[in-house]
């Protein structure tokens, strides 16, 4: 197991290196000059060139990459082009806002998705199952930001119950209630697709597993129904759930560009959109590497969780 873990961590670092080379190369080869985008017509061509030289963009690409990498190893992510602040500070300023939003959304998704999926699978083809399947299919088929727009239209514009933008009121104290009111719509909208797909996969997996002989045996030997469902059935239906949660992990840190843009949420997703439009290379690289590291960690955790859920899956060992 230790060998397996060491191997995976080594592979992870290697992947991160590949990601950084690919990202750095493609970003710098893509059209668009960050200096021109930032200063536009205010500066002459010579002055723009001076800015690019100061940012090190006039050097050959490999030189730039090695310089970026050697600083990165010392945890120096460079400075943002737009305001000159260290990228590390910019990211750590945005990260809490995104985590606050995405962890709430993931919580909503797992609690609702798995619970509703299991309940639906216990009585397949009942009216409840029919309703759940209908709602989840409709939810899955709607653009989440469009639903968000309609929710804003209803709850913010027409009813005036919930705020439509930001993390807290600009004026007045940011009380817990105020923060919660600002969280409701974005977290709900961000969780919608995950709720819908978790319901689908949990339900499908549970229905298949519940038809197996060992479930009938578990019931026949008199186990309470909740143990049959949770211990025997859900464990075997959990693989797709683990995969889906694993796929959501990068979004925890990276945020959602669309939802954060829609609700003016000051998080990582919007930072990425802004940086992409401005070709703000240091910020983009910082975010890509950070998200990349989290993805690799998430993939490792998902694989370890497969092993817990299904002991038939073995890692590192020999085939019997």
């Amino acid at each position: 197991m230790t060998t397996y873990l060491t191997g995976r961590v080594g592979q992870g670092i290697f992947v991160l290196l590949v990601v950084s080379i690919l990202a750095f190369g493609l970003l710098h080869l893509a059209p668009g000059d960050p200096a021109a985008l930032l200063y536009g017509p205010d500066l002459s061509a010579e002055e723009l060139k001076a800015v690019r030289t100061a940012w090190g963009l006039e050097d050959p690409l490999p030189v730039q990459y090695v310089r970026w990498l050697s600083r990165f190893i010392q945890l120096d992510f460079g400075r943002s082009y737009s305001d000159g602040r260290p990228v590390r500070d910019v990211i750590f300023e945005r990260l809490p806002a995104t985590l606050y939003l995405t962890v709430s959304a993931l919580g909503i998704a797992v609690v609702f998705g798995v619970t509703v999926g299991i309940i639906s699978a216990l009585r397949p083809l009942s009216w409840l199952d029919y309703a759940v399947t209908t709602v989840s299919t409709v939810l899955y088929s709607a653009p989440n930001f469009w639903l968000g727009l309609l929710l804003v239209l209803v709850f913010s514009v027409w009813l005036g119950w919930l705020p439509s933008a930001g993390m807290h009121s600009v004026r007045g104290p940011a009380s817990p209630g105020d923060r919660l009111a600002h969280l409701v719509l974005p977290a709900f909208v961000l969780s919608l697709r995950e709720v819908a797909s978790l319901i689908r996969y949990t339900r499908a997996g549970m229905i298949e597993v519940l038809g197996q002989d060992y479930i009938r045996l578990a019931r026949a030997k008199g186990l309470p129904e909740y143990r049959v469902v949770l211990d025997h059935a859900f464990r075997n239906a959990a693989l797709p759930v683990i995969t889906l949660v694993g796929l959501f992990i990068p979004r925890l840190v990276g945020g959602s560009g669309v939802v954060e843009t829609l609700f003016s949420w000051p998080g990582m997703g919007r930072l990425m959109v802004e940086a992409a439009f401005a070709r703000n290379y240091p910020v983009l690289m910082g975010e890509i590497i950070l998200v990349g590291a989290v993805v690799i960690l998430g993939s490792l955790l998902a694989d370890l969780a497969y092993g817990l859920a299904d002991p038939r899956i073995r890692y590192g060992g020999r085939r019997r």
Binding site: Q11, F14, V15, V19, A23, L26, L29, P31, P124, L125, D129, Y130, T133, T134, T137, V138, Y140, S141, A142, P143, N144, F145, W146, L147, L149, L150, V152, L153, R200, A204, I207, E208, G211, Q212, D213, L239, P240, I242, T243, G246, L247, P250, G257, V258, T261, L262, M272, V273, A276, E287, I288, V291, G292, V294, V295, I296, S299, Y306, R312, I313
Partner: protein
């Protein structure tokens, strides 16, 4: 929606001869799916016939009729430039359906193949493929978009590329997860023991057993692709604005909605919803037909 007859011990049963005929018959009996297929067919026909049906050219700007609510002249109203929303939806259907279909064909083939091979062969093959998937998954969609933009001139093909290259990764992981468990089962071990070649084990024994997730994925994927196009266009990074697509019709829907012009975001969103729903229901029907 779901109207199969589930026997208590329903499992994928190997199909007898003439399986496809039976599959087609079961699908036709599945009324919801059949209806959804019909709706989808109508949408495709409308998209193909757009130049014949549309009351206005999609780019016809009538500055005298800006942001008009639905009425006799403009059945679904006009947008903020005075363009007829119904006509733009008809022409937008061509772009949106083309982008989604092409991208998912690409993604499904790639994802299934990589997942099967990585999961079954294991060892260094799995390590290389899984790490490649990890590396690509760890690159945000925007980043891949920027990369693709640098290689192609701006067009709907950009979006096909972006969706095709990002969407298959999730499928590859799901298929691999299933195969990791399947390859230790008796029927696979038995097939290996009697010397069935690896390519045949993958094609004849593993593929049918992962067909479920693949079908779920491919159908949900078409809907996904429509939604991703919409999201990218919403941010101004998708299909270029001069080409009407369902996604970029939503772009200024946000501003329009806040000023009370609800019909500008409502109708494109509804069309996306109905199309994606029809695709998903057809997929459900297919899935149940295939597994009978």
């Amino acid at each position: 929606m779901k109207t199969p007859t589930l026997s208590p011990a329903s499992r994928p049963v190997p199909k007898a001869e003439g399986g496809w005929v039976r599959t087609a018959r079961v699908f036709a009996r599945h009324r919801t799916a059949f209806l959804a297929g019909f709706v989808l067919g109508v949408i495709i026909l409308l998209a193909l016939g757009a130049p014949l049906i549309a009351p206005y050219p999609p780019d016809y700007i009538d500055l005298g009729a800006r942001a008009r609510p639905p009425g006799p002249d403009h059945l679904l109203g006009t947008d903020r430039l005075g363009r007829d929303i119904a006509s733009r939806l008809l022409f937008g259907a061509r772009v949106s359906l083309f982008v989604a279909g092409t991208a998912i064909l690409l993604a499904t083939a790639l994802g299934t193949l990589v997942g099967l091979v990585a999961g079954y062969l294991g060892g260094w093959v799995d390590a290389v493929l899984s790490r490649t998937v990890d590396a690509l998954l760890s690159m945000p969609t925007f980043f891949i978009l920027v990369a693709v933009q640098s290689l192609l001139p701006p067009s709907a093909w950009n979006v096909v590329g972006v969706i095709g290259l990002t969407v298959w990764l999730g499928l590859a992981r799901i298929v691999r997860g299933q195969v990791l468990s399947l390859r230790e089962r008796e029927f696979i071990v038995a097939a290996r023991a009697v010397g069935v070649p690896t390519s045949r084990i993958i094609a004849r024994h593993l593929l049918p057993n992962v067909a479920g997730p693949v079908i779920v994925f491919a159908t949900l994927g078409v809907a996904d692709a429509i939604l991703i196009e919409a999201a990218l266009s919403f941010l101004g990074l998708g299909v270029p604005p001069f080409e009407a697509s369902w996604g970029n019709m939503l772009t200024d829907g946000q501003v329009a909605a806040l000023s009370g012009a609800w019909w500008i975001p409502l109708f494109p969103g509804l069309v996306i919803l109905v199309t994606a729903l029809a695709v998903n229901l057809v997929g459900d029907g297919l899935q149940q037909a295939v597994f009978r």
